[in-house]
Symmetry: C2
Subunit: 340 residues, 2 copies
């Protein structure tokens, strides 16, 4: 019932359902003028707030959910530690849901969470997600929502990310500075905005160094065996390649194995740099140069902003789009050494 | 009310509360004779089952919970993948809760879960857990419960573990076979049964090789800096040590860093073997010999058994104590090489 009323009001006033809902709840996020317009029309149309829905909002579950694609990647487990740090101080429980990079599961989980089981949701979108209706529906249901890392750009929801484009630019540039001439980019398949942002950084570095014609991308996936075959074939067919920039840690691990099999010495024959939050990357043979994402900070910041929404507090304009920079850690896998 | 009645029946009949509860629900796990004794006394005492509790059992949430100490360790993330594999086929959602090795959080989470939010719980106990009342209370509340990996031995709950003692024996023996004379054991502090099982395996190998007087244990904790200092001091004070068996991966990583700082060559000066489920252990310098636990299988098996309990199916006697063996993967960190 309430949703129908909200929809009617929203259409009539040319506002989003969520704005109407917030205006009726006197949220600080909505301007005074808008609130008055909404309330006036609600009164005129005899709008009755659904008492159940309000009680859901008041009767807090003291629980938030964080939805991530996987946890074998240290990035996400570090994000979750940051989430729990903030949640625990506020006396909240955290539910962790895994999509396993599956859009179907993501849809199921969001549907499950729309019924008031949690007070708010943080999500990093699966890489197979191609339609975004479930995210829109969730936002329209007016349950507090925050995106982190892998965002859906066309939805007006606060987002916490790192500077993927700049970090990818830095990584690629680092390879050139260490003497590489032909740098290949190993990307993960899927429809993620971070993939395209990272690729953009790679391409910008090529352009900066007037090497745009040298663009070489190998599209990989979640399957290690397939990736190794693909990378191996690629390196055998492109013997001039002397640098690899891996979009995710998994692909750096695959590359190390392939280089070992092909008896390519890292860093003498080929240099490798990767996005990676694996502490043990420093123990690799050779130690892996890595772009380390501020995972813990992303988790803390996303949760802090989610609680502001839950508590109907004003978000600062900057809090709608928080970008926390990554750091390039240079190790031996990209070091400049005389060729033997 | 129901719990009081159950308690009275249990005391009177000298049975556990959970047995009484199952007998009243006609569970297949309880023998016919016991069922009749329970039902007869229940009738005599005018026992009224709590209608709310039964409806909770029938009105399934289609959700199970898995409680783990942390997820930065690959072992637990692989267990969770196994859990989700089984749960998804059955149309169940999985809630993941982290205790961060904190008994207080573990108690809070179990209290939260006793209210019917989930149909069953799998738990790997935190290493700071010293009292087990919360686990007993949970079991007495008759919510299906399964232990995995880190179990509490004095509670009659199905448990799925690996052969920690045998695996630790194998790892220590492997070091001796590769030429080590003085093997130190790096243990994690805490009260876990797996710690004592692993230590038992280490000691048995020492005894087998008549080296019992050479027992050397370094007790470590979750703090990397402290561990490194401790291991460094230990190795400087015990220069005869030529082998390290690390109870957990984290301590192998700490050891690698210390050996690097002390300019001790692995495996020439000192050999290292560790429990580890890190795929990238093969890329370490040198590749790390590891006892790989059947994490994914443990997750699958634990979930399969949990569903049997939820569905009131008969457990095979072997399903009350499932032990899935670990494998020793030999790599260069323990290889026999002539000393330089």
């Amino acid at each position: 019932m309430e949703n129908l009323n909200l929809k009617k009001l929203a259409e009539e006033l040319n506002l989003s359902i969520s704005t109407v809902s917030r205006a009726l709840r006197d949220s600080h996020e909505i301007g005074e003028q808008t609130k008055q317009r909404v309330k006036a029309l609600a009164k005129k149309l005899g709008f009755q707030p659904n008492p159940h829905a309000s009680s859901l909002r008041k009767n807090k579950s003291k629980t938030i959910a964080v939805i991530v694609p996987e946890i074998e990647n240290n990035f996400f487990s570090q994000v979750i530690n940051g989430v729990e740090e903030v949640a625990q101080k506020k006396g909240y429980h955290v539910l962790i849901y895994l999509t396993h990079e599956d859009q179907g599961r993501e849809i199921d989980i969001l549907r499950l969470l729309r019924n008031g089981r949690v007070d708010g949701v943080m999500i990093s979108v699966s890489n197979t997600t191609t339609s975004f209706e479930h995210l829109k529906a969730y936002k329209d249901a007016d349950v507090p929502l925050v995106f982190f890392d892998r965002i859906y750009e066309n939805l007006d929801v606060p987002r916490i990310t790192t500077d993927d484009t700049e970090a990818a630019y830095k990584a690629t540039e680092h390879l050139f500075k260490m003497g590489c001439k032909r740098v290949a980019y190993l990307s993960m398949s899927g429809n993620l905005s971070i993939s395209s942002r990272r690729k953009r950084g790679y391409k910008r570095a090529l352009e900066k160094y007037s090497l745009a014609e040298n663009e070489l991308t190998v599209e990989c996936n979640m399957n290690d065996d397939e990736n190794r075959k693909k990378i191996s074939l690629f390196l055998q067919q492109n013997k001039a390649v002397d640098g690899i920039f891996a979009a995710v840690e998994k692909l750096a691990v695959n590359s190390y194995q392939v280089c070992h099999d092909l008896k390519l010495n890292i860093p003498n024959d080929i240099k490798v740099v990767s996005f990676s939050n694996l502490a043990a990357a420093a123990l690799f043979d050779p130690p892996l140069s890595a772009i380390v994402q501020p995972a813990y900070e992303i988790g803390k910041e996303a949760t802090t902003i989610l609680f502001k929404i839950i508590d109907d507090k004003v978000l600062l304009p900057t809090e709608n789009n928080v970008i926390i920079p990554s750091i390039l850690v240079e190790r031996k896998s990209t070091s400049r050494q005389p060729r033997q």
